[in-house]
């Protein structure tokens, strides 16, 4: 997926899989409370704006955060 920021990369992905959007982002476009994103192993800084930079070839992990209940 191409994109200079996490938002751009995710939008490209969701364009082909719109249902996934609501599982990763809330209805205001922010990362869900119990989701976590790592870019080349570094945890996402901007959970609301998703403006963290993504270098060419970077690996993005979208995972369930540790939680209970």
């Amino acid at each position: 997926m191409e994109g200079a920021t996490l938002r751009e990369v995710l939008e490209r992905y969701f364009a082909g899989n719109d249902r996934a959007r609501g599982y990763v982002l809330d209805d205001q476009g922010r990362l869900r409370h119990h989701m976590a994103v790592f870019i080349d192993g570094q945890q996402l800084q901007d959970r609301d704006g998703l403006s963290d930079a993504v270098a060419p070839g970077a690996v993005i992990d979208v995972v369930q955060a540790l939680s209970g209940g």
């Binding site: 249902r19 609501g22 599982y23 809330d26 209805d27 205001q28 476009g29 922010r30 869900r32 119990h34 989701m35 369930q64 955060a65 939680s67 209940g69």
Partner: protein, 379 residues
């Protein structure tokens, strides 16, 4: 008479059915049994049966993935994920705040707290109440939802505040069987609101309700009331009952004004209310100790029934646990069928009871379910 009801719980949706024949074997064995389990392990917060087409709608609240909606058109055999309500985008730079403390509050879907079919003459129309404070309408059976802007944009909506939850929410939606454009909703905490044109204009109704948690000069302020549940008699829609945070209230004018029912024993506190489908003077409640404790009085689970519009109450105990029982019953977890004879309710500690005689006696269907959020008969 309904032979099927659905139970939404913290760990899935259970469908109970009543067999035609008493099962062979143990005398007194229940005729009711769990016939189907859906979404096992998932947090199912609410379920709705649509009497117009038999479809089911279930709301799930996944810890990681948020609120999702699923619909079944084959009595729960298979489910399809459909759209969840989506709030309008928050205006850039706008920070909504709690009315009392001025703390910033979130603006995004937290919980589906009410689901109701539209009128018999408007197939596909559904209403959905949410937390925080949203009312949504679907015209395609839940394939898409639109927020009701007139209510969302009403400045009085921002004065609503949370009761038990941190944010306010819409938990009761009553569609007038005589006129589907006439809809009355209950808000915790934001009182009772009504529209007569399908939501284009709203009136803050509910005069006469009293909020003892407010300073004296604001106790009758309509917009601060905490109706825990609002229920309408289908045969006489002007008759409405409210189980309120600090009392029981009754209306005979479609929710415009309410009168407080005083002297209710063992307690006027509770969450659910069910109204007889044909007799507006008959209603059922499940009392508890208010409001910091929220357990049954003296460890006894009881149902309070009035048959004379609240003048007197029968405290019904037959078949219900009467010692060391700490079951709390949430607002959607009591229901009555379309005859008024069958009732069912479930508790936070996973008990489920049914009555076939208007509440005179009860049988335990389970003591081991997950925490029960909602019980809904098919009607």
């Amino acid at each position: 008479m309904s032979n099927r009801f659905h139970v939404a719980t913290r760990k899935g949706l259970f469908t109970l059915e009543r067999g035609e024949q008493r099962r062979q074997g143990v005398a007194g064995d229940s005729e009711w049994a769990i016939a189907r389990t859906s979404f096992l392990g998932d947090n199912c917060t609410l379920v709705m049966h649509d009497p117009r087409d038999g479809s089911l709608l279930a709301a799930l609240d996944h810890g990681h993935f948020g609120v999702k909606m699923h619909r079944s058109r084959d009595e729960g055999a298979t489910w399809q994920e459909v759209a969840a309500p989506k709030y309008p985008d928050k205006p850039a730079g706008y920070v909504p705040k709690t009315p009392a403390e001025g703390r910033p509050v979130d603006w995004a879907l937290k919980l589906v707290w009410a689901l109701a079919p539209g009128g018999a003459n408007e197939p596909g129309v559904l209403w959905c109440g949410t937390l925080p404070g949203g009312l949504f309408r679907s015209e395609d059976g839940g394939d898409s939802w639109a927020i009701n802007r007139p209510l969302w944009d009403d400045p009085r909506r921002e004065e609503w505040f949370g009761g038990g939850a941190d944010q306010p929410g819409i938990h009761s939606i009553c569609v007038d069987p005589r006129d589907a454009a006439h809809v009355t909703i209950g808000v915790s905490c934001g009182g009772v609101w009504t529209t007569r044109d399908s939501g284009k204009r709203w009136t803050l109704a509910g005069k006469g309700m009293r909020a003892e948690y407010m300073p004296p000069e604001r106790q009758f302020d309509q917009n601060v009331q905490d109706p825990h549940q609002l229920a309408q008699c289908p045969a006489n829609p002007d008759a409405m009952w409210v189980q309120h945070h600090n009392g029981i209230f009754r209306s005979t004018d479609g929710g415009e004004t309410f009168s407080e029912i005083s002297g209710v024993k063992p307690s006027a506190f509770g969450f659910p209310v069910a109204v007889h489908p044909k007799n507006p003077d008959v209603a059922w409640f499940v009392p508890a100790i208010k409001d910091e404790k929220r357990i049954p009085l003296e460890g006894r689970v009881v149902v309070n029934r009035t048959r004379d519009a609240g003048k007197t109450f029968d405290t019904l105990t037959r078949g219900l646990p009467q010692e060391h029982a700490y079951d709390l019953v949430f607002r959607h977890a009591l229901d009555v069928d379309d005859t008024g004879d069958r009732l069912a309710f479930g508790s936070t500690t996973g008990s489920l009871w049914v009555s076939e005689d208007g509440g005179d006696s009860w049988q335990t269907l389970s003591s081991n379910l997950p925490p029960v959020y909602a019980v809904r008969f098919e009607k």
